[in-house]
Amino acid sequence: MKYYCKFEGQERDYTFVRRDNRLLCTSGDRSYEMDLSLVGDGALFSMLVDGRSYDVLADVQREKVALQMVGERFVVHVEDDRERAAHAAAGHKSSGKRELRAAMPGIVVAIKAAVGDVVEEGQTLVVLEAMKMQNPLGSESAGTITRVLVKTGEAVAGGALLMEME
């Protein structure tokens, strides 16, 4: 089976083949002798690559694979052949509208712009309080505010839509 991985602009593909009780993985002109074993409830697995050992925590959410290994966290996008073909067929959609979303759950303590305001890149639009810290949320680009969806004092979930702009 072949998998296409993306991480921060880098891409690699890996092909896995089981043969005679061995698991081989090839990527470009490199090939690895692998031994994979699920541990406990299966969120954890042990990976031996050419005899080197790695202890991997993996959260597989469809194509999004979140990993904890070697003391780091990674989120890698992984497609198999079918998924890749499906995405190629579907193409990409994109929207001209821009959104300001809450980077974390918290309480809105200040709203610094109103509908119709023209704002600059980096300008603070909303201040969110979470865990006793005041966190200014800035505009990612210049534009005009088209909607304000929250009120001062309101508690919002992480990822909640706060404002829209064009």
Binding site: M1, Y3, C5, F7, E8, Q10, R12, Y14, F16, C25, S27, Y32, M34, L36, L38, D41, G42, A43, F45, M47, V49, Y54, V56, L57, A58, D59, V60, Q61, R62, V65, L67, Q68, M69, V70, G71, E72, R73, F74, V76, V78, D80, A103, M104, P105, G106, I107, V109, A110, T124, V127, E129, A130, M131, K132, M133, Q134, N135, P136, A155, G158
Partner: protein
């Protein structure tokens, strides 16, 4: 006569029952020592904390109600009621919340309950950072150039220009990095002032701000002091706390790599002098800025510090035990010779890239073990990390024979620590202690801005291979289980999903 000593310790404790006016890891920390001393403990708790470890591990628990700190851990009336109801004869305030609130100390005194901290006057004079600077100045302790009084928004720009940029805005009632902003030029001054004031008001109920010159390559070095009721004041060396982001400490160590024995002695003497000047009792920390071989008084924290375990591991002392003994009127134990090197890393629930708080449920927890490793934490599998409180989940502390060994041990311990359900600052700490700047010992409070944000290319390669392997394993498992498995298993899978779950869900049912 060990039997007699142990029995006495159990039969005649200095206090019968200590109420801990706090939550989280520090409440658990106090419970642990009190339990070891044979003293009963009373936990207090908000609605959100019903299942918290400090509630489950104390010998008694009193419900305060509410979720906001102001309805629970900051409500002096409710806490005094809890003291009465539970029959507590002493209160440990922990850090944060009411720990540096002189009204609380007074309320305890009035109720005949021993407050395990300094007298109200000491809290008052050191708690006001402007007042504290004046006292330190009189005691001959060097100060960073700045304005020793709180300033209003109208006088702000003129004052900053007078001191010279960059300047720091600091909450007069501050502590714990809250209500602090660095301003590099006049442009951001007003917004920074407003944010700092708002933060100060929210955190301390006091929005006064003062100004200070931001010094070059500053290091944050602090002295741990302890005083008893008989006029004895001692210090347990220093802690280096320069690894900070947003003025919150992330990594602390002891000893400080650049402190000479002479400077250490001077700083220790200055800290003890200051403590004596204000009639101090209990544990306190005098914070200094160190820059180019000189030190300047910053502030005195009139409570146990988050990073106190760094000192405990080097000096073989239990500082909470000493707080309790001193509160009971006993004399200080002699300070032992320090041994080796210790490092602490704070484990915060936050995104390692953006430093934004990360909320969620801890679904898996693997804690480090083996030689020289200590974890002070109230985490447990199932803990909901809520937005109501501080983002610190716990502290990982190591001790070893010297600094390189301690760094290697911390690296090992950080790799062993696994938390699933919320993102943490652990990977940032790991990259920091592996950086040449930290390894050299020659760093300052700006170090975190210079740490590489992402993993190394080799690690990225490995992670991509592992991600592909995870998908492959999941697909294989899904294939093997497709006949045997019912949907039952998937339905109860935790947020950190079983491998193969996503695969199975994607297959057509039937």
């Amino acid at each position: 006569m060990p039997l007699l000593a142990a029995s006495l310790c159990r039969l005649m404790p200095m206090f019968r029952r200590i109420l801990i006016a706090n939550r989280g890891e520090i409440a658990l920390r106090v419970i642990r020592t009190a339990q070891e001393m044979g003293i009963e403990t009373v936990a207090v708790f908000s609605d959100a904390d019903r299942n918290a470890q400090h509630v489950r591990r104390a010998s008694h628990a009193v419900h305060l109600g509410g979720n906001k700190p102001s309805e629970s851990y900051l409500d002096i009336g409710k806490i005094m009621d809890a003291c009465k109801k539970s029959g507590a004869d002493a209160v440990h305030p922990g850090y944060g919340f009411l720990s540096e609130n002189e009204d609380f100390a007074i309320a305890c005194k009035d109720a005949g309950v021993e407050f395990l901290g300094p007298p109200p006057n000491a809290i008052l004079s050191m708690g006001d950072k402007v007042e504290a600077r004046k006292i330190a100045d009189k005691a001959g302790v060097p100060l960073v150039p700045g304005l020793q009084e709180d300033i209003s928004e109208s006088r702000l720009a003129a004052a900053a220009k007078q001191i010279g940029y960059p300047v720091m805005l600091k909450a007069a009632a501050g502590g714990g990095g809250k209500g602090i902003r660095i301003v590099r030029d006049e442009k951001g001054l007003t917004e920074a002032f407003q944010l700092a004031s708002a933060e100060a008001r929210s955190a301390f109920g006091d929005d006064r701000i003062y100004l200070e010159k931001f010094v070059t390559r500053p290091r944050h070095v602090e002295i741990q002091v302890m005083a008893d009721k008989h006029g004895n004041v001692v210090f347990y060396g220093e802690r280096e706390c320069s690894v900070q982001r947003r003025h919150q400490k992330l990594i602390e160590e002891s000893p400080c790599a650049v402190l000479t024995p002479e400077l250490r002695a001077q700083m220790g003497k200055a800290a003890c002098d200051l403590a004596r000047t204000v009639g101090y009792v209990g544990a306190g920390t005098v914070e200094f800025l160190w820059s180019e071989g000189k030190f300047y008084f910053l502030e005195m924290n009139t409570r146990l510090q988050v990073e106190h375990p760094v000192t405990e591991m080097r000096f073989g002392v239990d500082l909470v035990r000493e707080q309790i003994r001193v509160g009971a009127g006993l004399k200080l134990e002699p300070v032992a010779e320090p041994r080796g090197h210790s490092i602490e890393v704070r484990i915060n629930a936050e995104d390692p890239q953006t430093f934004f708080p990360s909320l969620g449920r801890i679904s898996r927890l693997n804690v480090p073990g083996g030689p020289g490793v200590r974890l002070d934490s109230a985490m447990y599998r199932g803990l909901e990390v809520t937005p109501y409180y501080d983002s610190m989940l716990g502290k990982l502390i190591v001790h070893a024979a010297d600094r390189p060994q301690a760094i290697a041990r911390m690296e090992r311990a950080l790799r062993e620590l696994r938390i699933v359900g919320v993102a943490t600052s652990a990977s940032v700490a790991l990259r920091t202690i592996r950086s040449p700047e930290f390894l050299s010992g020659d760093y300052d409070t700006g170090i975190l801005e210079r740490i590489a944000k992402g993993p190394s290319p080799e690690r990225v390669e490995l992670a991509m291979l592992a991600a592909a392997a995870a998908r492959f394993l999941g697909a294989e498992r899904a294939g093997a289980e497709v006949a045997a498995s019912s949907a039952a298993h998937a339905a109860s899978a935790p947020r950190w999903a079983l491998l193969g779950r996503a695969e199975r869900l994607r297959r057509p049912i039937r």
